[in-house]
Each structure stands twice: as structure tokens, then as C-alpha cells.
Assembly symmetry: C2
Homo-oligomer: 355 residues x 2
DNA sequence: AATCTTTCCTTAAACGGTTAAGTAAATAAA
DNA sequence: TTTATTTACTTAACCGTTTAAGGAAAGATT
């Protein structure tokens, strides 16, 4: 069976191509009888319109792009889920692109979008994205862009984030109140707004608690797991090592636990650990890990919903549509005052919506 | 600046549309001088060909679809990574669709592909996919399909799997050798080949070790976390509860640990636990979790590479191209003989390639 | 009876590329 | 010199839709 087109249906039913097209799209100037006949026939021959012909003509692709640094951690997995749910509901298609934390790839990915391949873009930038002319250029072409999580401040459009500053503040305060007096802050970038906000919250909390905020306590990690292991091991092996540590990205938690195991540091007695993470296993780690959980699914959903809103009404000003969805602090054993971790275990499963 | 097309370039350079098209694609019957001029100009005006016009004419979309049940666990995240890496290298685009374990959605997703939206499909079927006419129909249209992980046996095409039978066998043997004599096997489907193979390996191992394989030890879990919690709790609270448990899907590990914690079962002393999982946190769980790790990234990569091979040479017979990539058994504390777990900890980090 | 509407359908021109077929000029072969 | 070949381009059809514009027939209005 060859591919069935509108032209074929027209021939078969003795009607014109235009009539078929309009009948299928419920055009106003087609008789009810004809509509029924056409639709019934189209169904019977299993007609599926060619999306590319339609996209070409309408200059709309019904497709969005999602550009992510990676999809290894659970944040982006969940975000994709949220995006996909909304897209499927709206009848949109989702192209996925990974920049693998490389600015070069991000640039070439966005360059391709100039072609009109997608109607809109959802993105989270790489750690390398300091120069943003490629994004600016796409934006200038009028393609709606919604950032989520890792936003680019220089582009004037909607940004879906969580309350990173407050989260950094909350988690630091929590560690201070749990008795830490030297807290290391692990980050992966000095430029990403998300990292800057979290560390700003951290610094503010230190100041508010009359503590000194030392630059040497800010530790810049890389994308290389072994390097990170070595670095963290070095930090935690110092005489004046931190007794509290904040990992601002998920993947570092495994490394920290591994280092502590290997050099014999007891969590939380010797060192307290908290992590920005969406891992479902946090609760069953040894010891269970205190986390700041981002609303990943919600953020993806919100970002997608907003993008579609922008695609549907062209006059929407995305600039004014940014959303901040609060994170949750899950206090568990890894950050708890010495002594009570085992006994008061149950009580410690505190869940606090950060505000 | 309006959108720049081949037509515009032709006008600007005083050449015909055909010349521009052929010059840009390095056609053989265009003069070197002209090619240079055209390419230089195209670059200078930042020309990007309209992919939909090209797709329409060439009847090729340079796009593949990835259809997954979900993207919550690390298996599919890593698989996507593998797929995307190959696709990006080959200049293909990746549409992602989630069936959310619903046959209905899977059907409607595949139905859309009849339109020629994608050149090929990579898929992992839902737990509900027993009827497969929708896949058959797509396959009959000549769209290459490569299954990975959750394959559909009835469709005669390439399947990228891991050695599920051997993995089930290996992990069961391991538990038996660690002293278990009643092993529960948690599964999510009685139909999915992947589940059947793993459980077949489990049963074979029991028989080879002269043990009885009881149907009551096969536990069918659902997609609902709370239901699973209740079910597993019930099983583990019985008087004649298992002293070994195999979770054939990743997400169940958290539930099992939670149940054990809640009803006071000590892993591995009271019960030994192993899980088919790619979680990076397995090593730092409490206790560290013995896992069968699937080569997720590799599987994604291989599946994608194979699909592109099929797309490039039309005469390739996908039927003969299935690949089995072995899993790895990581033996950790959760499945270890009583007593030695803490002391011989280091030695226990055994990693065995299953063959 | 003549004109105006309305209804329902058709014609044909897009959309932006690709490509088979044709052609004019320059070069080579007879 | 005539004919064949090569080179470098153009013309025009085509991919499958959408849609503005037009038109014939029937019914309504004057």
C-alpha cells in the first residue's frame, strides 16, 4: 500500500484537494455531508497528514526543542517528564538535544534552530555558557525561549527557577544550627546564576550568623568525577577541614560519601553533609542524606506550559512571566546533631518548604 | 531581517535557484568559482536551509523517534544519552515520546509516525504492550524499528538487549551461595520478555541448585509506589518470609529498603537484597546494594548506531542484527554472608561481567 | 424578472527546497 | 569544418499541504 495523501483522497472521492483539506480541518465552507464523507474515508484508509508539508506551508512545526546540559541526574529526567506531559497534551512534539556541558555544541544546536525547525525552545544552559550571543541571536529571530533551572540572565525572557538563594540560605542555616562552624560549599560554576544564587544564600547565612565567609571554603568542582574525588579528598583531609559540606549539585553526593568512607570520616559526627538533589535514594543512603529537593517535574511542566502559552498568543510578553517554585529541605541523618541521629531517627525526617 | 531562503540568495547573486541548491550541496555540475561565491554568500547572510522543505521533497526527515515508557530511572536516562551522542554525530534529530506505561499512548504515538515524521524508531515497550498490531503496522510500512531493553518478540527486527537470562541466573546463584533458601522475585510484568528472561534465569538457577521454584515467590508489582510498598511489606512480614529478594527493576530498591527499615529487618542479616539497577548511589546505600548493572549507555548507543546503519543502507536486514551486551554483577554488602559484611567490606566490592 | 446572498466547491498560488531534463557555450574529436 | 563531448548553468516539475480568490447553483430580496 502506497502512502496516502490528500491528493489521493481527492481523486478517490471525486473532489478537489482543497475540499479535502478543508473538510478534514473542519473548514467553514464545506457541507456537512461532504465533511462526513471525507472524514469517514480518510479514517478508513488510515490517512495521516504529512507534518512536513503542513509545517512548510503554515510556517509552524508544532515542535519544541529541549536543550539540556545532560540527562544523567534525576533533576533533568524529571524535568523532561514534566515537559513531555504538557507537550503531549498540547499535541506538540519534543526534540531533545544535549549540550554535554559544551558551549560549542550548545551554539551549533541553537544555530540549527534558525531554520525554523522548532517553534520554541526550552533550555538550561551549560556551565561554559558565559558568552550568549548564540542565544541572543535566536531570541532576536523571535523564537520564544523559556529558561529553566540554569537560566541565562542576559536574555530577556521567562525563567523558571526554584528559590536558589533561599535554599542556599536555609541549608546553610540548618548546618550552622546543627553545630557546624566551618562549611565547605561545592559548586560547579562561578558564573551560572543558579550556582551564584545558592552560594549567595550560603554567604548571607554565614554573615547573619556572624560567621566569616572565606573564599577558600568555596570549592569549584569540574565535570570529571575523578578530579572531583581527588579535590574533595584533599579538602577533607586537611587539618582544618570543614565539619559541614554543601554539595550544590546532585552527582557530588556520591563522591562525598565515597571520600568519607575512604578516609574514615563519619557522617554526621565528623562532618555533616547536605546536597541539592532529587535522588529518590537519598532517604536510604548510609546515613540518609539531607537534601534540598527541587521541584523538577513542576519546573519542567511550568516551563513547557508557559512556552505553549507564548506560542498560542503571540502578544504574550514572556519577560513578565518568570516563575519561582520553592524547593523543599528534607532534613535527614547526614546533617543531624551528633548523638541523636540513630535514636531520634524517625523524628528527623523533617520536610520543610523553603520560603 | 527577514528569513533568508535559497530564492533570496539566487536573486542576490543573479543565479538560478537550482544553482544555489546544488552549489550548497556540492553538486557535481557547478563550477568551483560559483560554488565558492555561493557558499561564501550563504555564510555571510547566515543561511540555514529549511528542514521541512527539504524533508518534504526528499522524503527523509533526518529525525528519529525514541519511544520510552518513562525516563525516571537511570537506565533510560543513560540510554537517551547514548542515543543522543550517536544521533548528534550522524546529524540526526531526536524526538522523544513517553508512553507512561500506557498502551493507548504508545499506540497513538506510533500512529503518528505513519505520517513520515521520522525515518526510524528506537523503542522500549510498555508493560501493557501485549497486543502489538500498532508496532506491526508501522513496521509493515517499512519504517526501521530497533528495540532496546524492553523488546517486542513478535516483531521481526533488531533487538538490543542485555543478557537478562544469565543475569537472573547469576544473581540468583549468588544469593543461594550467600545462604538464602527462599528467594522472592519482584517483577513488573509477566509478559515483557525482559522480565520473563530474568525470571527464567532465576528459576533455572533454583532448579540447578536443587531448589523448588514456587509461583508464590514471584511477586508482580505495579506502577504505583504505594501499592508496591504495601505489597512488599505484606510479603516481608509473613512468618515464612523470604530471606533473599531480587528486584528486577530499579525503582523497587528504595521501596524494599524502606520496608525493611520500617519493619525492622536487617539487610543482609535478616534478608539479602539485590537489584537490577544503574543507580550510581548503590555503592553508598545503607547497606551498599548489590546490583546487576545494565550497560545502559552502551545499549542506547548500539541501538542508535544500528538504526542509522539501517537508514544508510536500505538493504540491511535488521532481523539479523540483534545484539546482546552483557550486564555486570556488582556484589556489595546487601547480599553478603552474615558477619563478614562490615569487616571484609573492601573485598566485597566485586565486579563480575556476566557471561 | 433582475439582483443580491449564501452555500459549497474548485482553481491556483504559495511554502522552500531538490532534481530530472534541457540548453548554450566552449572544447575536443572526426 | 562539422560533429561530438564536456562544462556550467537554467527551466520547470515536484514533494503534500494550506488558503486566498473565484465561480456556479440555489435561494432570498427587491
Amino acid at each position: 500500500m502506497s502512502i496516502i495523501t490528500i491528493k489521493q483522497i481527492a481523486r478517490d472521492l471525486g473532489l478537489s484537494i482543497a475540499t479535502i483539506s478543508k473538510a478534514l480541518r473542519d473548514g467553514h465552507d464545506i457541507g456537512e455531508e461532504t465533511k462526513k464523507r471525507v472524514r469517514a474515508y480518510a479514517l478508513s484508509v488510515n490517512y495521516t497528514p504529512n507534518p512536513y508539508a503542513s509545517s512548510l506551508r503554515k510556517r509552524k512545526s508544532k515542535t519544541i526543542a529541549v536543550v539540556l546540559p545532560e540527562v544523567t541526574d534525576s533533576f533533568f529526567s524529571k524535568a523532561i517528564n514534566g515537559i513531555e506531559v504538557v507537550a503531549q497534551m498540547k499535541g506538540y512534539h519534543v526534540l531533545i538535544y544535549l549540550s554535554h556541558e559544551s558551549l560549542l555544541r550548545e551554539q551549533s544546536i541553537l544555530k540549527d534552530f534558525q531554520s525554523g525547525r522548532v517553534d520554541g525552545v526550552l533550555m538550561s544552559i551549560t556551565t561554559e555558557t558565559e558568552c550568549n550571543s548564540h542565544i541572543q541571536e535566536l531570541h532576536a529571530r523571535g523564537i520564544p525561549i523559556v529558561f529553566f533551572d540554569r537560566v541565562c540572565n542576559e536574555i530577556d525572557t521567562a525563567k523558571i527557577t526554584t528559590n536558589d538563594f533561599e535554599s542556599g540560605y536555609a541549608v546553610t542555616s540548618h548546618l550552622l544550627e546543627s553545630g557546624c562552624n566551618k562549611i565547605g560549599f561545592l559548586t560547579i560554576s562561578n558564573c551560572l546564576p543558579i550556582c551564584m544564587k545558592r552560594s549567595a544564600g550560603y554567604k548571607k547565612a554565614l554573615i547573619d550568623h556572624h560567621m566569616e565567609s572565606k573564599e577558600s571554603d568555596m570549592i569549584l568542582c569540574s565535570n570529571n568525577e575523578e578530579e572531583n574525588y581527588t579535590l574533595i579528598k584533599k579538602i577533607l583531609s586537611q587539618k582544618k577541614r570543614p565539619n559541614g559540606i554543601i554539595a550544590s549539585v546532585e552527582k557530588l553526593s556520591t563522591t562525598i560519601y565515597q571520600v568519607c568512607k575512604d578516609i574514615g570520616l563519619q557522617i554526621p559526627n565528623d562532618i555533616k553533609v547536605v546536597c541539592f538533589s532529587n535522588q529518590s535514594t537519598a532517604a536510604i543512603l548510609n546515613p540518609s542524606l539531607t537534601t534540598v529537593t527541587q521541584p523538577a517535574f513542576e519546573m519542567g511542566k511550568t516551563a513547557a506550559a508557559l512556552l505553549f502559552k507564548a506560542l498560542e498568543k503571540t502578544n504574550l510578553d514572556l519577560t513578565k512571566e518568570s516563575v519561582i517554585i520553592p524547593s523543599t529541605l528534607h532534613i535527614r541523618e547526614s546533617s543531624v546533631l551528633a548523638g541523636i541521629s540513630k535514636t531520634k531517627n524517625k523524628l528527623l525526617q523533617k520536610e520543610i518548604l523553603i520560603s
